[in-house]
């Protein structure tokens, strides 16, 4: 494979040599990662390959034992999920990170609520609820997630797809550069999966780079611009869906086939 021209853009998010062990389990073993601007990068790998651990490190939820993370070419170290969020990396964690008994608005703004200006907000910590509701409504309708609806509904009364929609809306509502989605369609039926995939494409079309972890190969090959294949705690290949068949990708993922030479591609 020929070297690509040097005009390649800088990755928005990049990691080199990430290592993380939990006791004796090595969840990340020198994992590399590159996310290009405006792309949907799918991350595939067997159960326990370390995908969630890797994106948790990128999202500030797990502190790697070793390795480096670069955001827009600059080296960063995240101390908390809030830290990563404030730098534009939003994550929908596996199994969702919503508080089911809180309302849609509460969830959208959880951890970054607006307070009213002046003494009432400063001294009395009064939340600016009208502003949050208005923005919540705007975000949801921007994403086509809303007809007439009740944003004061508690999340647990929503369907799985609706919840996922709220989680995705939260992830891309705050001027984020990168949105990471860990198995967003895992618990959904066919139709609801469809909606979420469309939503993901929508978000990409707004210029946000997306990392999508999924076990669903047809989904991956349908919407990903590139596919990052993860195996035994590290990246073994990056392929383009147009240049590889699904079964070959799965074979690489399970170790039944050697990754193509010259990998990983950029």
């Amino acid at each position: 494979m020929m070297a690509r021209p040097v005009t390649n853009p800088e990755p928005v998010l990049k990691a080199r040599g990430l290592v993380k062990s939990f006791g004796r389990v090595v969840a990340m073993d020198g994992a590399d990662f590159d996310l290009m601007p405006g792309e949907i990068l799918a991350v595939i790998g067997d159960n326990g390959a370390g995908k969630s651990t890797m994106i948790s490190a990128l999202a500030g939820a797990v502190r790697p034992d070793a390795g480096e993370i670069f955001l827009g070419g600059e080296k960063v170290a995240f101390h908390s999920p809030m830290d990563a969020r404030s730098k534009g990396i939003e994550t929908v964690f596996q199994g969702l990170a919503l508080a089911p008994a809180l309302t849609i608005v509460d969830n959208l703004f959880l951890g970054r609520e607006y307070r009213v200006p002046g003494v009432r907000g400063g001294l009395f910590r009064l939340l600016d609820r009208p502003r949050m509701r208005e923005e919540a409504r705007k975000h949801l309708s921007d994403l086509g997630l809303m007809t007439i609806q009740n944003i004061d509904q508690v999340v647990e009364t929503l369907s799985g797809g609706q919840r996922q929609g709220v989680a995705v809306a939260r992830a891309c509502a705050f001027g984020s550069k990168v949105v990471i989605l860990d198995e967003p369609t895992a618990a959904l039926g066919v139709k609801e999966s469809r909606k979420v995939l469309d939503l993901i494409k929508d978000v990409r079309d707004r210029g946000i780079a997306i990392v999508l972890i999924s076990h669903n190969m047809p989904h991956v090959f349908e919407i990903a611009d590139r596919v990052h294949i993860h195996r035994l705690g590290r990246r073994v290949a990056v392929v383009r869906p147009s240049e590889m068949t699904m079964s070959d990708a799965v074979a690489i993922m399970t170790g039944a086939m050697e990754p193509p030479a010259g990998q990983p591609a950029d």
């Binding site: 939820a61 908390s80 999920p81 809030m82 969020r85 994550t91 964690f93 969702l96 990170a97 919503l98 508080a99 089911p100 008994a101 809180l102 309302t103 849609i104 509460d106 959880l110 951890g111 970054r112 609520e113 307070r115 009395f124 910590r125 009064l126 939340l127 609820r129 949801l140 086509g144 997630l145 809303m146 007809t147 007439i148 609806q149 009740n150 944003i151 004061d152 509904q153 508690v154 647990e156 009364t157 929503l158 369907s159 799985g160 797809g161 609706q162 996922q164 929609g165 039926g189 139709k191 609801e192 909606k195 979420v196 939503l199």
Partner: protein, 341 residues
């Protein structure tokens, strides 16, 4: 049941049952309120006019002042999916501290009062430390500290009661909460007013500040809260601290209520506070419940006791009825949780 149409947030399932469930989810105080109103209706028809007499109503309010205040503290803890078995001991320890500091150590009564409340804060901080730093289950921690605080009560008080006249002579401010404003036949004590004021304050904190939303989120799903960027341990610790402080404050109300300072003051407070919280619709599993519900819960306990007594029934039927109410409340919460997932 799941809507297949993601963009359509408007519930597509408009069946009455689902709508009712949604309403109950959004307004957890409806059921307790219903029970309270039903109870009032039944008692007034059985007992007659005496029940709604202003004097009787204000008497019930006095009777639930201590329980209500402690239940407010307990609500905060239970919202985080915890439980505090030491609240009753903190109340008494704080009141003993106020009395002893003012009497034995001749501190100015105002200072003794402040330090007594601070003792409550210290107890809460100790609970919070074990729960958040050592990560022990709240049940175990507070069972342990309940015993520790009780020992401190016995040690500090020497098992002796400080009599009403002594307090009246040297530290009347400690009894101030027992003073009553007369409005016709009603006697509204300062303590009852302070409890209502505190409830208003806590309602504001829980519903109108980010901290309050975080308390709910931590109780609802600590992992989700942490991943949302909430400092969960800080929230938990401050909840225990705040609860301890409120119990310290309740120590002051207790002195006003009984006039004297007794080391045996708050034996029933622990269970009664949990009862009020649970009957008020707050879930023992955390993240669900309200301050208003707890006030209603405390009133239900108060009015059922009072009404059953006025109806001439033996005390044992009060316990019997309250016990049933607890079981019904918890079953209802379980049911609501099950159908929503």
């Amino acid at each position: 049941m799941a809507s297949n149409d993601l963009p359509q947030f408007a519930s597509t399932d408009t069946r009455l049952s689902r709508r009712v469930i949604n309403v109950l989810h959004g307004n957890p105080t409806i059921i307790p309120l219903f029970v309270l109103v039903l109870g009032l209706a039944v008692f007034s028809s059985v007992v007659g006019q005496r029940f709604f007499h202003p004097f009787n109503l204000s008497l019930v309010l006095q009777q639930v002042t201590i329980i209500g205040t402690v239940a407010l503290a307990q609500t905060l803890i239970i919202l985080t999916a915890g439980i505090d078995l030491s609240v009753g001991a903190i109340v008494v320890l704080s009141s003993v501290a106020m009395g002893r500091l003012a009497m034995d150590h001749d501190l100015p009564p105002g200072l003794a009062l402040a330090l007594g409340i601070a003792v409550g804060s210290g107890c809460g901080a100790l609970n919070g430390f074990f729960v958040t730093m050592i990560r022990l289950p709240p049940f175990i921690v507070t069972l342990g500290t309940w015993s520790v605080f009780n020992a401190l009560i016995q040690f500090w008080s020497g098992g002796e009661t400080i009599r009403q006249q002594e307090i009246e002579a040297s530290a009347p401010v400690l009894q101030w909460t027992g003073e009553a404003l007369r409005m016709g036949a009603a006697r509204l004590t300062i303590g009852s007013l302070l409890m209502l004021l505190l409830a208003g304050l806590l309602w504001y904190v829980l519903n109108r500040t980010a901290y309050g939303r975080h308390v709910y989120a931590v109780g609802n799903d600590p992992n989700a809260a942490r991943l949302s960027g909430i400092a969960t341990r800080k929230v938990l610790f401050t909840v225990y601290l705040l609860a301890g402080t409120i119990c310290g404050f309740a120590g002051w109300l207790l002195i006003g209520r009984i006039g004297a300072i007794s080391p045996l003051g708050g034996a029933m407070t622990n269970l009664d506070s949990i009862t009020a919280v649970v009957i008020g619709g707050t879930s023992l599993f955390g993240g669900r419940g309200s301050i208003i519900g707890t006030l209603i819960g405390a009133l239900i306990v108060g009015f059922f006791r009072n009404g059953l007594a006025l109806a001439g029934l033996d005390v044992l039927w009060q316990e019997f009825t309250i016990g049933f109410l607890i079981i019904i409340a918890v079953s209802f919460d379980q049911w609501l949780r099950r159908i929503s997932t």
